[in-house]
């Protein structure tokens, strides 16, 4: 506990700002029903109302409250991004460790598959898969997780290759330890710093991918609120000099910047710890 406190005290201002923004977003996402003045999907007023005391950010193309949808949007977008990123990391890290420890044909097969997947432009591949399997939250999460795991695989494999060559890993193997123990106890803890930093980066990219997909109409489906589709639905307002549709975009941008601030700090920490 004291270690965590000490770590917080040494945080540079940028990381502190980033962390505060992230905590705020999470709080908003968790307590959305409490904070939001109106329900997520209910039409509560006329279309495209201006900002007023009744509707702080006006209403959207169907007459739903913008502020409430913005708040609920945090919930949907962040939760899905979090799920997809975590899944991508579990998958990529496990396979990457296996490839590094077993080498030989396991490494060859896994690496070549990853090469093939990475050779296809990401967004187009996702669009293709989504039109084949249909758009549901589950397929969305799975597809993004699998495609993103290729990058995690490459990182984990590269980091683990360096660690596998060290004497303490050899000592564990010659002791007769099983492969899972070697992966979990000897290699993974030492590969964590770059993986943690990468997690933050991946989270941003997944987040942006989901927003992009929603904007294209293939992401989170209406009437659920999410920031990407909110930009698209209300884009016409920009023509009239109303900045409301830019707010969900700003929310995406702010979170991306915040996560990157924290990740930068973590990268600095993990490189500093090596000395």
């Amino acid at each position: 506990m004291s270690r965590t406190l000490r770590l917080l005290r040494t945080m540079p201002p940028s990381a502190l700002v980033g962390a505060t923004v992230i905590v705020l977003y999470v709080l908003v996402a968790v307590f959305a029903p409490v904070i939001a003045p109106y329900p997520e999907r209910e039409v509560v007023g006329a279309q495209y109302l201006e900002w007023s005391s009744e509707f702080p950010l006006g209403t959207d193309s169907l007459g739903r409250d913008m502020l409430s949808r913005l708040i609920y949007g945090a919930r949907n977008t962040i939760a899905i991004a979090f799920l997809a990123t975590t899944l991508a990391f579990v998958l990529g890290a496990v396979l990457g460790l296996l490839a590094a420890v077993l080498r030989g044909w396991v490494d060859q097969v896994l690496s070549r598959i990853v090469d093939v997947v990475m050779a296809i432009p990401g967004l187009i591949f996702i669009l293709l898969l989504l039109s084949v399997f249909g758009t549901s939250i589950t397929t969305l999460v799975l597809i993004i997780a699998i495609l993103d795991s290729t990058r995690v695989f490459r990182l984990t494999r590269a980091v683990a290759f360096g660690i596998v060559a060290l004497d303490y890993v050899e000592a564990a193997r010659v002791r007769g330890e099983g492969i899972l123990w070697v992966m979990r106890r000897e290699i993974l803890p030492n590969a964590m710093p770059p993986l943690v930093a990468e997690y933050g980066m991946r989270f941003c990219f997944v987040f942006l991918t989901i927003a992009a997909l929603s904007f294209l109409g293939l992401g989170i489906q209406p009437p659920a609120a999410d920031w990407g589709s909110m930009v698209r639905e209300n884009a016409t307002l920009i023509t009239f000099g109303d900045i409301t549709p830019l707010l969900p975009a700003a929310a995406i941008a702010a979170l991306t910047v915040a996560v990157n601030f924290v990740v930068d700090w973590m990268l600095h920490l993990s490189s500093g710890l090596k000395e």
Binding site: L166, D167, Y168, E170, A171, R173, V174, R175, G176, E177, R185, E186, P189, N190
Partner: protein, 542 residues
């Protein structure tokens, strides 16, 4: 250069203090050291790691490592104050008047350029010579450093020449601008004894013939005895003693200096009677891919005795250990443990067979998982082989820590990074012991340690052997260590055994020619040894 100005010291350091930062704190590294160096004089700086000798060597150039600061005192080089000098002034001096030779030449050369290109960069940049002159001069210096094919070697890339040649090329490069002062930072520590001998004599001849002043940083007393006119002993950032080489060798004044001198005198007690072989290597040949690295090796490791395996790097001694462990399955031949043939690959060996053979590694830094606590590191073999529960495990770990002379209460919850080099090596020993093995492979276990610390490790290993009837395979390139600890000796070269027998048989005449070369190349604590061993090359200064 400047032989007539002998009256004034070339380098004068007064009350120098250097501090290094750990976290928020500044901790002293050098605590007020005085040093005077006249022109043409060679000063040996000696001490254990962490004594501040490299820091002091760098400070003589007005340089400090990142995270360090000058906290007081002055450094005057030929009247120029360096601790507060501007970057331009220091850069102007460096390489043209002060040069630096680092421990690892391989890491100091740029792998992308030929040796000649790197050599001529500074003389040309400083306007000392034209490119053509500099190239001609480089060849002359290469010849003086006794490099093979001096006309041609400069056109090779760093990876195309051997480590010893690279170290000499680096010294030649440092000489390029005929500096008045050269700092040598452990230039031969990473080299084999026979190579070290060539490099030492080349450096000494060059320094003498150009009349260059030098600071020679090393932890090896015998080396400093050959190189230096004067020796300064450092301990924890302070000067312990300073005297002309011969005086200090003959009569060290301080206790610490005496203890350094006494280290090489450790001898393990003689063992009576030759035990039956516990591990037998029979006609083993092994290869990396298609390159043979072991040829028809037959070695018995007798129970309760220490068999030293000696040879230069590349002789196959570590490969033999890998073949015994099953990490590099032999192409032919086999390994027996207590008369029973072991499977070639470690994956095919039973847990019981694996348990009986344990390894202690050279680099304790990479041999211990930095993310595990000492208790876990030592406890795991106990759990794994003996199936002990948590309480028995912890009790055994405590017992082992006491055995390796570390306080269990203090160390059991520490991480390896919180230990010193010698302590880490002790943890490596405890981990091997935890499996309750019969045969332990010690792979250069003392070569990364200071002499005092290494001696402690050797004593510990000797005691444990007597208590537990252990059989050691002791891989080393250091003859002094062999003399100290071995009962039997195996000399290897190019993947073959060239001599084997008891210590008396192998290390006393008549020698095998290669054994004789190895023995002859080990520097002795006699300032005239190098001169006797190899008369200096004669010839006019280039």
């Amino acid at each position: 250069m400047g032989d007539t100005r002998d009256d004034k010291p070339l380098l004068e350091i007064r009350g120098l203090k250097v501090e290094g930062r750990t976290g928020e704190e500044w901790r002293p590294i050098i605590k007020g050291v005085d040093l005077t160096l006249r022109r043409g004089e060679v000063l040996g700086l000696i001490g254990e790691s962490g004594a501040g000798k490299s820091t002091l060597g760098l400070a003589a150039m007005g340089f400090r490592r990142d995270g360090c600061r000058f906290a007081g005192g002055t450094v005057h080089f030929d009247g120029i104050e360096l601790t507060h000098a501007s970057h331009q002034v220091r850069r102007g001096l460096r390489s043209s008047r002060i040069a630096y030779v680092a421990q690892s030449a391989a890491a100091s050369f740029n792998p992308a350029y030929r040796l000649m290109t790197q050599h001529t960069e500074f003389p040309v940049l400083r306007g000392v010579m034209s490119r053509a002159e500099a190239e001609a001069d480089a060849v002359e210096l290469y010849r003086r450093m006794q490099l093979p094919n001096p006309e041609e070697i400069g056109f090779r890339y760093p990876h195309q020449v051997s480590g010893g040649q690279l170290q000499r090329a680096m010294t030649a490069m440092a000489m390029g601008c005929r500096p008045e002062l050269i700092i040598f930072d452990e230039p031969t520590t990473a080299l084999d004894v026979t190579t070290q001998l060539e490099v030492l004599s080349a450096i000494r001849d060059a320094v003498q013939s150009f009349g260059t002043a030098a600071i020679y940083v090393t932890h090896d007393l015998a080396v400093v005895a050959q190189m230096a006119d004067r020796i300064m002993v450092l301990l924890k950032g302070e000067t312990v003693e300073e005297a002309p080489t011969r005086d200090m060798l003959a009569a060290p004044r301080e206790d610490y200096t005496k203890s350094l001198w006494a280290v090489r005198s450790f001898r393990a007690p003689e063992k009576t009677g030759a035990g039956a072989p516990l591990v037998e290597v029979r006609q083993v040949s092994a290869a990396y891919g298609t390159t043979p690295v072991l040829r028809n090796i037959t070695v018995p490791f007798r129970e309760g005795r220490t068999t030293a395996v000696v040879g230069e790097s590349g002789s196959g001694k570590s490969t033999l250990a890998r073949a015994i462990m099953g990490l590099l399955p032999p192409v032919s031949g086999h390994v027996r443990l207590s008369g029973k043939e072991l499977p070639r690959r470690y994956q095919d060996r039973s847990r019981e067979e694996l348990r009986q053979t344990q390894v202690i590694y050279q680099m304790a830094d990479t041999a211990l998982n930095p993310r595990q606590k000492i208790g876990e590191i030592i406890g795991r073999p106990i759990e794994f082989y003996l199936g002990a529960d948590r309480r028995t495990r912890d009790a055994k770990v405590r017992g082992l820590l006491e055995d390796i002379e570390l306080d269990p209460a203090e160390y059991i919850d520490r991480y390896p990074s919180e230990l010193s080099g010698g302590q880490k090596q002790r943890i490596g020993i405890a981990r091997a012991l935890a499996a309750e093995p019969r045969f332990i492979i010690c792979d250069e276990v003392t070569s990364a340690l200071d002499q005092l610390v290494a001696e402690g490790i050797l004593k510990l290993l000797t005691r444990l052997q007597a208590e537990r009837n252990l059989t050691y395979m002791f891989i080393t390139h250091d003859i002094a260590t062999v003399r100290a600890i071995a009962d039997d000796v195996v000399v290897m070269r190019n993947g073959e055994v060239v001599a084997a027998g008891t210590k008396e048989q192998v290390l006393s005449p008549p020698f095998h020619p290669y054994t004789e070369l190895l023995l002859d190349s080990v520097p002795e604590m006699d300032p005239d040894w190098l001169t006797r061993r190899r008369p200096p090359a004669t010839g006019p200064a280039g």
